[in-house]
Amino acid sequence: MKSDGTLPKIAVHGLTGCAGELLVILENLGTVLPYVQVASFPFAQSKNDIKDVDIAFVEGSVSQEHDIEVLNKIRSHSKWLVAVGNCAVHGCVQSSTCAKFTPQEMVESVYGKDSAIKALEAKPLSSYVEVDVSLSGCPIDKNQFLAVLASLLKDHLPYIIERPVCLECKMRENGCVLIEKNLPCLGPVTAAGCGALCPSFDAACYGCFGPCKDPQLDAMTLILQEKGYNLSDVLVRLGTFGIPEAVLSNLDVRR
């Protein structure tokens, strides 16, 4: 509750993405509704007003001119801007790190040569506006989302784990799929937050929360190559869910 007796306003918007984050937020709206007023959520309601929002959650990457306009408008009207999901945080699948085609080639192959559709190279929100909080995940974890919202409602920057999936995996006492099954698990270089979901079901982590803090990609590449995975496959795997170019360019094999 604010000092004037009203509830804080939130906005939830999607740019270019699969609406995965919008769904996670929608599914958990019941928990947060007693504490907030949903000023704008085009995915869930028809009457929306983006003005003077306290906390805006934006999913999706910026992939077209229209996305930039929407994003700038949200930014200028909100106190806190939270990038939710890997598209908004890292650019995700559609970003350039593992794409083999230029945006122009992709537009032409999908919409034809003389299409009116204009696409930009997919980029995270932070390429265009100042982002206050970045919550990665594909999709985001609902507990992390609730913790972020609860923190920001208290004007408190949230704690978001930046440690690798391996920590959560060991804490759950899973047998290591990288060691025991030689699976191409990216747990050592991927941000935790999922509770080591895939390795808990004997599957390799495929990096869907994006890189952890200071990921050791050279060592990861080396170890996967020793297990027989070829370098180009490893690099695609590392980049699939988006990874900052600055992090990837540090890789010895790419230099």
Binding site: L146, K154, Y159, P164, K170, E180, G187, A219
Partner: protein
Amino acid sequence: MQTTGKVYAPVKVSDLSYSFKAVETHSDIAFEALRTILPPKKFFFPQEETIVMCDGDQISEVVEVPTPFVVFGVHPCDLAGLLALDKIFLSAPLDSHYQRRRRAAVIVGLSCLPDKHCFCRSMGTDTPNKGYDLFLTDLGEEFYVQIKSQAGLEVIQACSTFVQSVNNDDNDSYKDFWSERDKLFERTFDSSKLPNLMDMGWNDPVWDQLAERCLSCGNCTPVCPTCYCFDMVDVAMFNTQKMEAKRDRVWDSCQFSGFAAVAGGENFRPGPIDRLKFWYRHKLHGFDDAIEIPSCVGCGRCTVSCPAGIDDLPGVVLTLLQKTNMKDAVQ
């Protein structure tokens, strides 16, 4: 044992791994388990625990009162690990959360036969001298039971139909077991040299070679019986009625790049090599004389849990001993 409380023992959880879990009958127990993924420290210093709850203006410490429980199948190295943690958590300032759980536990030790990664004999943690309520030595057809405490005695009294007094033959078998076991260790070294060795080998190129492979994944620390580093995180949360916040204690690792980062952006151990060397030193040099015990118990968990294969502690020690000519200098 079940008359005492819930029983936890090693259970097979994957092709190669075991974990201490709640068991109902003896057939649930993997008696062959040599090392569990996590050591028994998790029962006393859990992976995550809420220390403080906040509800409006009400701030209260969470005081859990654990019911008695039994940890069965604790090998000598893990007993030594618990004793090391006792020195950390039960010295001033005392950690009451750890203490309450420790007091509620009955520890039943169990003998084991080493594999190629075990080096408890070199670390002097291979014989069960203390830290248990009962210790069972597996003599094949039967167990040789040593009773250390009143709690251990009560367990034995509750199952008196299964026990009988030892005779001379039993004592001989017991002695034979432990002396035969001594011969099974593949690699040994003199651990009294370790502090000097770590000082002399500090700038050795071996660290660069290991660090090139280091993933900074932190797998080596949660699995270590003596690693006790944690972080405190404040988490705001929604409750059904009131908004709440809690302060959680969560396992941390010196291998993560944020571990030694401080305000202002300075990081005392910025690279994998800084962190790896720090960890090796902490394990092998000991607690830097603050507590005069080794902080490695030779269980081999880090060796088998490292995806990069760089935590072969006895291998590194033997290499450094060779390089610094210390191997033959003092015997």
